[in-house]
Amino acid sequence: MKHISEDKLLEFALETCEVSERPAIEEHLNKCAECREMLDRIRGDIELIGGIKPKTGFVSQPIPVRRSILPGILRMAAVITIGFVLGYGSSSLTKSDPVCVSPSYERLSPPADSVAGYAIPDATDIPIG
């Protein structure tokens, strides 16, 4: 009887072989004690390789985060209040200069000829009645 190679049995144990190959391997294993023994040994090795157990150190439990919208609302209200007070305070303490609005439109250059036909000659000239 021709035995299954060790590599093929390893593939079988790791489930990395083709699905189509499995029935033939299983059929052989049912009849061959030597290959079954080899497969058991391979499975034992796999268990060893995948089973190292390191000593575990202390791991502290992460503190649960309680999420509430109330602190957020209070924080936002505080920011708005402080902003308002500071803004009002600074505006009442600083002396504001009088605002002078110069009639700068008098110094505007006349529109180009191409648009003059569509422009109003004097914006202040509003016919009444």
Binding site: L10, I49, I52, K53, K55, T56, G57, S60, Q61, P64
Partner: protein, 186 residues
């Protein structure tokens, strides 16, 4: 399993959510179930005992800070994916990396695995896995210590499933050869 832990909850996710909410017995249950595997995965990937401890702590911190409410997949898969990514980041940055191959394994005073692996057999196995190149080692650790399916590993590493399987085969084959040379296995 602890009396007041998750025995009555019969769900890993339920236990996870209870631990996240501060339930101490549930937390101990989660640790008992997953800490050792996470530590092994981090140790094998980084080769550093200090980094391994940090990665385990950071994994739980990130997992608990996440806002997940679903119960899809397994808690182990969720935790080991976080640990894998943290370990990957660690190896890329090469922080606190300890070369395990320096010094003989018999020289226990110099062996960085001494702290975490009490059994000499486990140290030989860790050395065999660490002797693989990163691609093969990652596949092996994700499969054995992360309990990920080949399909999951393919998605996680963004490689074809055929590549995952061939790397897995080669990784285990190489480890067995290494362990046979050391007389650990027949």
């Amino acid at each position: 399993m602890q009396e007041d832990g998750c025995e009555t909850v019969n769900s890993d996710w339920e236990c996870f959510f209870r631990a996240r909410d501060g339930d101490s017995p549930a937390w101990h249950e989660i640790l008992e179930r997953h800490q050792s595997r996470l530590a092994a995965l981090a140790l094998l990937m980084t080769g550093s005992a200090a980094a391994s401890d940090d990665i385990v702590q950071e994994t739980f911190l990130r997992a608990f800070k996440s806002r997940i409410h679903h119960r899809q997949g397994s808690v182990r898969g969720f935790l080991t994916t976080i640990a894998y990514r943290l370990a990957l980041k660690e190896t890329q940055h090469e922080k606190r990396k300890v070369e395990l191959d320096s010094g003989s394994i018999e020289d226990r005073n110099c062996d960085p695995l001494e702290r975490l692996l009490s059994s000499e057999r486990d140290r030989h196995i860790a050395k065999a896995i660490r002797s693989l190149d990163n691609d093969h080692r990652d596949v092996l650790t994700l499969r054995f210590y992360g309990d990920h399916s080949y399909d999951d590993i393919a998605k996680l590493m963004n490689i074809p499933i055929g590549t995952v399987k061939s790397r897995m085969f080669y990784a285990v084959k190489r480890c067995r050869e290494h362990l046979r040379e050391k007389g650990i296995i027949e």
